[in-house]
């Protein structure tokens, strides 16, 4: 199965130049997205970034103001929702309250014979581990059970693409982590392409083959989790995926290995990345090494611990640097960790620091 599909122009689902305006509000702008068969893509972004609108455009609940949507080579831009071979799992689940669980799941199976339909419903109930729940009403189920009914209902028609809007958003934390694994396993087994909308970076990292980050209606970066985490395209992406220190500077030149040298308020620093002119170094807290005395590693930046937070497996320290800025450092939790007020020296491997253009 295609676990690491190569993005190409001839995908299963292609959005080209897609845009949607509501009055003067631009919800989605000039968006290109290609989904490969069997791929699991997460759309990540804060609320109001247009990710749900994008999902509704693909499902057919909204008509785009610009651009096209192709599915399997056919233009479905103007098709009504009920003629599209994609299905949606709603954030609120949208289970029909006046129908039983079985009737909900069978809703999309009209046109099939009674026996075939019954068999398919049973199969789906087994798939989501809800055997025997067919006659129940949705309002007698727990949140997790409802979530699985919604999933089974959306899968009933064997859609080419399944759209999931915050599928785990209504579950509590423990259940969410367990369900993430199940969802991922289910997607692998069925080979159906999934597009999941989420605002939770940890969820996106846990689920997706590729993550598309959206900001103000635009798809600002798309790639696998590691590339987004290690090589963010902007401050926004860097900050969205996890804690990060941002160090502005001016690019002075480039070493043969590709490392750029920058002039910063803390002196010359090095980082990987193609930006020129004004730039920003994104440095993850766990990449920073902490020492009580200069260890000989480059650079050796002096600072003073101003705050420590014990997190169990790690300790997070706030360190005031020579220029007055405060860096966040994540260090293994052990008895040796420096306390508040102690002087420390920070260093980092320059190839693990990422240089981005400052304008973003």
């Amino acid at each position: 199965m295609a676990s690491t599909p190569v993005p190409g122009p001839a995908g299963l689902l292609t959005c080209a130049g897609l845009g949607k305006r509501f009055g003067t509000h631009v919800a989605v702008a000039d968006l290109d997205l290609t989904l490969q068969p069997g791929e699991f893509v997460c759309l990540l972004g804060p609320s109001g970034c247009g990710k749900s609108t994008l999902l509704r455009l693909i499902a057919g609940f909204e008509t785009p103001s610009a651009g096209t949507i192709h599915l399997g080579g056919a233009d479905i831009t103007m098709d009504p929702p009920h003629r599209r071979p994609v299905n949606m799992m709603f954030q609120s689940y949208a289970l029909f309250p006046h129908m039983s669980v079985a009737a909900n799941i069978a809703y999309g199976l009209s046109g099939l014979g009674r026996a075939v339909r019954q068999a398919r419903v049973d199969e789906l109930l087994r798939l989501v581990r809800l055997d025997g729940f067919g006659p129940r009403r949705p309002d007698t189920l727990s949140g997790g059970q409802r979530q699985r009914v919604a999933l089974a209902r959306a899968l009933a028609r064997s859609p080419q693409v399944l759209l999931l809007d915050e599928p785990l958003g209504a579950l509590d934390r423990a259940l969410r982590e367990e369900t993430q694994g199940e969802l991922r396993a289910l997607q692998r087994r069925l080979g159906t392409s999934f597009i999941v909308v989420t605002h939770d970076p940890a969820e996106a990292l846990a689920l997706a083959d590729r993550i598309g980050v959206m900001e103000a209606g635009r798809l600002v970066q798309i790639g696998d989790g590691a590339s987004l985490y290690e090589r963010p395209a902007s401050r926004f992406v860097a900050g969205l995926l996890g804690d990060v220190n941002l160090i502005p500077g001016r690019v002075l030149g480039r070493e043969p290995g590709g490392l750029a040298g920058l002039d910063t308020a803390l002196g010359p620093l090095r980082a990987l990345g193609a930006a020129d002119g004004e730039g920003v170094i994104a440095l993850r807290p766990e990449r920073i090494a902490l020492a009580r005395a200069p260890s000989g590693d480059e650079p050796a930046l002096p600072g003073q611990v101003v705050e420590t937070t014990y997190l169990g497996d790690r300790i997070r320290l706030h360190v005031r640097m020579a220029d007055g800025s405060v860096w966040r450092v994540s260090a293994p939790a052990d008895a040796e960790s420096p306390g508040v007020g102690e002087s420390v020296h920070l260093s980092y491997p320059p190839e693990r620091a990422w240089l981005m253009p400052a304008a973003t």
């Binding site: 057919g60 929702p81 009920h82 029909f96 006046h98 309002d139």
Partner: protein, 295 residues
């Protein structure tokens, strides 16, 4: 403090709702007399238990026997219920698309649409029914318009028929059907019809399988709000119906005002109450079963 809250309104309701209905029941079991008040027996409060006994003995069921045996009252009861039922069905049929359209209109237009629906309700009921006389009478605007269009050769004989009463009932009660339906439909989660469409249902199937079943409480409330008062309606059959359009409200009115037969009028009132209480109980049971699964 808190326990005293119900006292005042309860006294008022007991005096002016409960007592009158009990009194009506009592008088429906008495005989007319040319006295003041014009019925017998009059309960003699000063005679104590004995007065009560002689009062009970004098009660009779003649009025209800009259209602049951006289074809006039049977027909009136039958046509009241029939006309009210037909008008309710028509209202459901034309009220649903209107309520649906209102619920689907842009949010900022919805208060205006509701206001537009209510404004006629705030203008005189009498005058709105009266307006139809000018439209429906043979030399009225409807006939004149249709004749000008060449659709009919003779003026229509609608006024003073049951058809006119149906038009009047539909017209007067339309907001009572649309508003409860609209209230339910606006609260309907828009994701539910969307989910149905997503699962391959065309607009017609979405409506029949999702929207309509979920709007049923509104439809039931609307039907109740229309049917019950329509059974006892007086002004509409009086102004638009012919002399042959017998509805219970009108019969009660004429027994009281023209024939001055208070006991018989009271018996008609009790009959209407019974006819009306039936649907109310049905409705409450329906509500109870509809809520059952959520328990």
């Amino acid at each position: 403090m808190r326990r005293l809250l119900p006292v005042l309104p309860a006294l008022w309701l007991a005096a002016f709702v409960l007592m009158p209905v009990i009194l009506t029941l009592k008088i429906s079991l008495s005989t007319p007399a040319t006295a003041q008040p014009p019925y017998l027996p009059v309960l003699d409060w000063s005679a104590g238990i004995e007065g009560w006994d002689s009062f009970l003995e004098a009660l009779d069921f003649t009025n209800f026997e009259t209602l049951a045996s006289d074809a006039l009252y049977r027909d009136a009861a039958l046509s009241s219920v029939t006309l009210a039922a037909i008008a309710t069905a028509i209202l459901a049929l034309i009220g649903t698309p209107i309520a649906l359209a209102m619920a689907r209109a842009r949010e900022r237009w919805q208060p205006l649409l509701v206001a537009l629906l209510i404004v006629p309700f705030w203008t005189s009921f009498l005058i709105r029914i009266y307006a139809w006389i000018a439209i429906l009478k043979p030399e009225g605007l409807l006939s004149a318009g249709l004749m000008k269009l060449g659709l009919i050769a003779q003026p229509l004989e609608i006024l003073n028929t049951q058809g006119a009463v149906l038009i009047g009932l539909t017209y007067a009660y339309l907001p009572f059907m649309v508003l409860p339906l609209y209230a339910v439909l606006t609260k309907l989660d828009p994701r539910l019809p969307e989910a149905a469409a997503d699962l391959g249902a065309g607009p017609a199937r979405v409506f029949w399988s999702v929207t309509l079943p979920l709007a049923r409480p509104g439809l039931a409330a609307g039907a109740l709000l229309c049917f019950v008062p329509m059974v006892g309606e007086f002004i509409i059959p009086d102004l638009l119906g012919g002399s042959d359009t017998l509805m219970l409200g009108r019969v009660l009115w004429s027994e009281f005002f023209s024939n001055r037969d208070w006991p018989l009028a009271s018996a008609v009132a009790i009959l209407v109450l019974v006819l009306v209480v039936g649907p109310l109980i049905l409705f409450r049971d329906g509500e109870a079963t509809a809520k059952e699964p959520s328990r």
